[in-house]
Amino acid sequence: MLLMIIALIGVLIIALVIVIKSADVFVDSIVEIGGALGISQIILGVTASAIGTSLPEFGSAVVASLTGSTDLGVGTVIGSNIWNIAGILGISAAVAGVIQTNKAGLTRDWLMTLITGLILLFFMLFGDISWPAAAVMIIAYCFYLWILIKAQKKHSNETSHQDESQEKQLKENSNLEEDLEKKSEERGSKNVSKKTYLYVLLGLAGLIVGCRLLVYSADELGGMFGISDMVMGLFVLAVGTSIPELVVTLSSAMKGLHDLSLGTVLGSNTFNILIGIGIPALLLNVPVDRISLTFDAPVMIFVTLLLMALIKMGKGKLNRWGGIVLMITYMAYAIIRIFILS
């Protein structure tokens, strides 16, 4: 029995690494192919950063739903969203000392995260989440992606104007000229090797196999300890599949890249619900657990509101104390959910 538990935990960890690495390879290769096909770098960049860190949650949710463990899938998505804000942003703000915000970006991404949470809660009120809800969710995500691409295009236009005037000033410097030549050469090379296509297949295969192993080990471990699929999804898979968000949010907060830090979490939360639940719901009815409706989803919306309240209290910044409040909130949620409500 003990050996089996150790083996399953080992499988869970290895599967997580496979899933995260495969998602990285997959997104990377798709972006390369997209670039060669002439798709705008802006569209590719925005989509890759929005989807990149969330593929593990999405893959797990889809595989869990298709293999009959829908609770595990929904749990992973809702659990990830609570962990992303209360856990990851909490830890990042506590470690980095402060996460600054950009008002326009924050309002857009936070509002979308909140609306997404409310959309999910609304459809949960009607029982199972089925295809009409899925269609609304997927359309809502496309709309959000369109807003993101528009914002990025505007930003790129502004910076390219600045770059042009800077280039004029600095062209006297010969080193810079060499750099610019190098960059334009890089831009020019648009050939995609067969290796890239192979990487897409490998990434996809890794994602499918990794997610299957992940769901299997979580399911088995839950069964052995008498823990429900929902709780395994909410805590084990949610935290595990959110490792990319954790490393990106924490390291960008420590490097002072505040927009990336907050954007990663909020963008991921929107993707997790609209696509992580939307796609499985398009394929089959996703059942709604009563506690999810009355506790998990409201907590998810509560931490989204709490985040904004803490940023407002910090005069536009999420400071260390705000981070600690978020972490305490997560711990309180975990204790209540695991020991009282299960």
Binding site: V17, I20, K21, A23, D24, V27, D28, V31, G45, A48, S49, G52, T53, V95, A96, G97, T159, Q166, I243, P244, V247, V248, L250, S251, S252, M254, K255, G256, L257, L260, T264, R320
Partner: protein, 143 residues
């Protein structure tokens, strides 16, 4: 006394660092090298595209910082200063020391002011530079 000075900043507390450097230089002819290091290290499992995005953003930030340093040091008021900006990639402390050695600077100016919690959690570039710098260091207290 100091003919070649290396001024390091990550963008924070730039004003006091520049102010102290100018105070030391006064009316002498001096070469000032401004350095910004793009920290490229990322944790394991960071997506490649995100790492590229971080480097791009940090490079743009570094260019902005070096540009504003240039404006401060090369104003008509400070005609005796010859300013040059240097951007490197890698570990900030290591690169600052390496540039100081390669350029043979007489003085490194950098800021310090993290509280004990920040020092423990984030580490301190100035502490690392102090241990291996090849020349005199001026640590400007920034808070």
């Amino acid at each position: 006394m100091y003919e070649k000075i290396l001024v390091a900043t990550m963008g924070e507390y730039m004003d006091p660092i520049i102010e102290h450097t100018l105070d030391i230089i006064q009316e002498r002819e001096t070469e000032v090298i401004g350095i910004y290091v793009v920290e490229t290290s990322v944790p394991f499992l960071t997506p490649k595209k995100v790492k590229e995005m971080m480097v791009t953003e940090l490079t743009a930030k570094g260019e902005e910082i070096l540009d504003s340093m240039k404006q401060e040091f090369q104003s008509p008021k400070h005609y005796m200063i010859k300013f040059r900006g240097v951007m490197r990639e890698g570990s900030p402390a290591d690169e600052i020391v390496k540039v100081a050695e390669d350029e043979g600077v007489d003085l490194i100016v950098l800021g310090t002011g993290k509280n004990i919690v920040d020092k423990r959690l984030l580490g301190s570039v100035s502490e690392k530079v102090v241990h291996s710098a090849p020349c005199t260091i001026l640590l400007v207290r920034t808070s």
